[in-house]
């Protein structure tokens, strides 16, 4: 069940060749990015722009970057470092999309960029697979893991950090003072579930249950998405926003800090609730570099075959499809390549018509 990350094709491949793959795979984004009028309205909420003070690190810059990548105007081999810096400095807070004059989902574009180019191995893994909702998933994993921990350790203050894609967040978020944030409207960022009602229902149901079992807790988060998300719950009205870089403050308050290392532990920890309901998720090596959900369509025939053959290795097991489109795709593969897999969608699990093992 463990993953072989050494063969991550992204790493072994020539970086510059990816430009072609990227341009082909994400060609459908051309039209979206072309809608950007370069008005700059999105600059106003962007922490990475305000801290790094350069167009390279602004949402508008990133949309343009995507455009240039799609037009294959950027030599990736030469510009790898800057490219990764541009992408990784984004906090994926979603503020830009809130302000965009033409309603572009800028942070989604950045997910696309990240999912394709992000280097850190385990990040690549999840981003590629769930790149529609990476921040959510990280939050999700972390959260459950820590609630577990908190139950054991009597730590009643949780610090939720979701550092996905974002080593830089710690520094950029420091400049995001509470005052600024409190002025913003509060709602669940669409990015979290992006119209995927199954997912949302699933989170809400489990989250409430878990949190109720904890009693009264004080939650502190450095991530605006999490903050917004939790704010939505009546019992989370008081959520503090805090910089995870402030070590002394953390210690003083006895915060339980979660860092990325948490994810490197055993895989069961990743999906405790799924395990609880006797389901488990399979990550196959080849899933790592295939585009997820709505992008299945753009898979070439070879890629599809490769993917199907990797699925065969897991015959007899149960696969959880996180969104409806995934399920459709898996089902199609199952039929076409005769893979013997049980595939369930979240909806099936939530509604209780999923099979338990």
């Amino acid at each position: 069940m463990s993953l072989n990350l050494k063969n991550n094709p992204l790493k072994s491949q020539d970086f510059s060749k990816n430009a072609i793959t990227f341009a082909r795979r994400y060609a459908y984004l051309k039209e979206d990015t072309a809608r950007c009028t370069r008005c700059g309205a999105c600059l106003q909420g962007c922490t990475s722009y305000k801290t790094l003070n350069m167009e390279n690190f602004s949402p508008r810059g990133r949309v343009q970057l995507l455009q240039f990548l799609l037009e294959r105007k950027i030599d990736l081999k030469e510009n790898e470092e800057m490219l990764l810096k541009c992408i990784n400095s984004c906090a994926q807070c979603g503020q830009c999309s809130e302000f965009c004059a033409v309603d572009l989902r800028i942070d989604n574009f950045i997910f696309d960029l990240k999912s394709f180019f992000a280097k850190a191995t385990f990040r690549t893994k999840y981003f590629n697979f769930y790149h529609k909702y990476p921040s959510f998933l990280f939050f999700f994993f972390t959260f459950f893991k820590n609630i577990k921990q908190a139950k054991k350790e009597e730590t009643k203050t949780l610090l939720l950090t979701s550092k996905e894609g974002l080593k830089f967040a710690s520094s950029s978020l420091a400049s995001l003072s509470d005052a600024r944030v409190s002025k913003q409207s509060v709602y669940i960022n669409e990015v979290l579930y992006q119209g995927d009602k199954d997912m949302l229902a699933f989170i809400l149901k489990n989250l409430k249950k878990e949190i109720n079992s904890l009693g009264k807790v004080r939650l502190v988060t450095d991530n605006i998405i999490i903050w917004r998300f939790l704010k939505k719950f009546h019992n989370f009205k008081k959520i503090e926003l805090l910089s995870p870089t402030d070590k002394s403050l953390l210690q003083k308050n006895n915060f339980y800090v979660i860092n990325n290392n948490s994810f490197k532990e055993k895989e069961e920890n990743l999906f405790p609730c799924c395990l609880k309901s006797n389901f488990f998720v399979e990550f196959t090596q080849n899933l790592l570099h295939t585009p997820a959900n709505r992008f299945w369509r753009s898979l070439s025939l070879e890629e599809e075959k490769l993917f199907a053959s990797s699925l065969k290795k897991y015959e007899g097991k149960t696969l959880l499809a996180l969104c409806a489109e995934d399920k459709v795709f898996y089902d199609r593969l199952k039929r076409k390549y005769k893979v013997k897999l049980d595939i369930f969608s979240l909806a099936q699990i939530i509604n209780g018509n999923g099979k338990t093992k």
Binding site: R38, C39, G40, A41, N53, M54, L65, I74, M82, A101
Partner: protein, 648 residues
Amino acid sequence: MMINNFYKAKKEIADLLGPQNVFCDSISLLLNGFDGSPVKSVPQAVLNITEAEKLWPLINLLIRYRIPYTARSCGTNHDGAAVPLKGGVILNLKPLNKIEKIDTKKGIVVVQCGVLNGDLQEALFEKGFFFAGDPASSAFCSIGANASLNSGGAKTLKYGSTLANVLAADLITAQGALMHLERGFQGPDLLSFLLKSEGTLCVISRLWLKILPLPKNKITLQVDFKTLEQAMTSVEKIIASGIVPSALEALDEVSLNTCGKEASLLIEIEEDAYLDKIKKICKENGVTDFIVAEQKQAQELWARRKTACSALARLNKTIISLDPCVARSDLTLAIKQIKKILADYQIQAGIVFHAGDGNIHPNIVFDSSNLYLNTQINKATKEIYKFISSIGGSISAEHGIGIEKRSAMALMYDEKTLNLMRQIKKTLDPLNLANPDKILPLATSSSKEPYQAKQQNIIALQEKVTQAKELKITESLLSQAKEIIELDKKNWLVKVQAGCLVSELESFLNKHNMSLPIDSAFKGTVGKAFADGSFKTMADYVTELEFILPSGEIYNIGGKMLKNVAGYDLIRFLCGSCGAYALITALTIRVFAKGTKEPLKANIQGSFRPATIHTALKKIFDPSNKFNKLEDFYVFELKKQPVEKPRF
């Protein structure tokens, strides 16, 4: 050649700024070569300026190596002003974002050029103050660029645009001199003149701004009309009645995205007394809905106004925002004609406008991938500019000229005026390095008839100037030119010849229950008041200026529109010019209802101390040294305190 130059200079630049602030990778280059306009270009390097003090040595270095440079802050201007046309380097000024000092007692803030307008407003709001320059883009544009474009907004009508609220600045001229300029300095208003050059004459590093206490009383009104004409008539009548609202905005049918009502006005007033008057005027002109908004509703209304442009952008792929300005009495006509032109070319556009200033924003939305449409739009915009110029309006009220409107400059100004501006650029930036090739049309020559004097006494003056070998510019020279040419009650403007006494003009105005924005006790002519530096800020109220240069050529700049940022600001330059540069013959001045405006007080502090830049400009305006001589001003004080103040 230029490429080599940059690489020769690269090491020195890196030593100066630190290698981490010099970017030459193609991503940085591609991502800093655009702004809010459709134009794109690629610089050779992007330099992050993290310390204001380094700008001066840097620019000198760039001049030494002849590398073109373009200042760029947030890159949100609509006209390609921040696009590096000739390559060279981009000076990224965004990191200079410190608010250095807020002095609420004196009403001054000191800011670095890259401070976001919105951030400043937020910081001031906490202290109960505000800064009057407020473009709709305030949350994402910088103060430095606001000054360099003289950005305006809803509040301009009452408080003036950005420049009217700048008190002093540190800047580096295109010749490489570091200057600290203040509005109070005697002599021509170099501060405003250099600032408002879209970065083609100077780079601003620091600004001293005037701040005002937040108004205690603010009433927001939403007034709906069935037709746009009715709304415009109301605007004209409100203005004509002498009311100065703090904002008077309008949205048309497309922008409102509603059916049934064609136009809606958004009015903000600070005086209760205006409310009934406005209500009465609107009632007489077919108002359908008159709402006095509650605080929360008012906030929503203003937010809607500020995002109107964005809302329009959603209608199609691309949006182009034009910003012509006309006399307020011409608003109805201008809008009708603009709508007609757009309809003729079958172009979709929403019109949002600062009705109070006569500034119209037709926001054209279209599919930019459609080549045919692109050409149609080019044709239509040209026709709009042609029409605006023909009725004496300005092609740009607040967005600036940049590249996009460069050729339209030839519609607005005659060839001699364009040449004068070209010469200014050439003299102050001989190597054409500072934001090259902007503002002035490169190849297009003007299609406008050269301006001719209309009155006999002015023609006589012109002859006198031509024939004289030397001419001392004094009040007595204009003793024959003291006509009050026109009192435009609709627009609250008076056009007067420069020889008219201020007191006489004031008593004439008083008969019409109007008054001048300057102290009527001033002993002297209007021309003197304007040119001798008694009222350093008088140019804020002068919309049109006629003057004769020593060659005998006569020029006329501006018109009846309140806002005009097209080209270099000669009106401001000549304010306080002490007769050394031009003979001012006529002015159009804004007037106010009697008793509503605190007049400016005459105040001469110090005397005119010419510096090298003055001499350079003198050579353009007066090469034969015919008019008042700069040497006469030098006598006592040059050594004591030159204007160019080396600071580092």
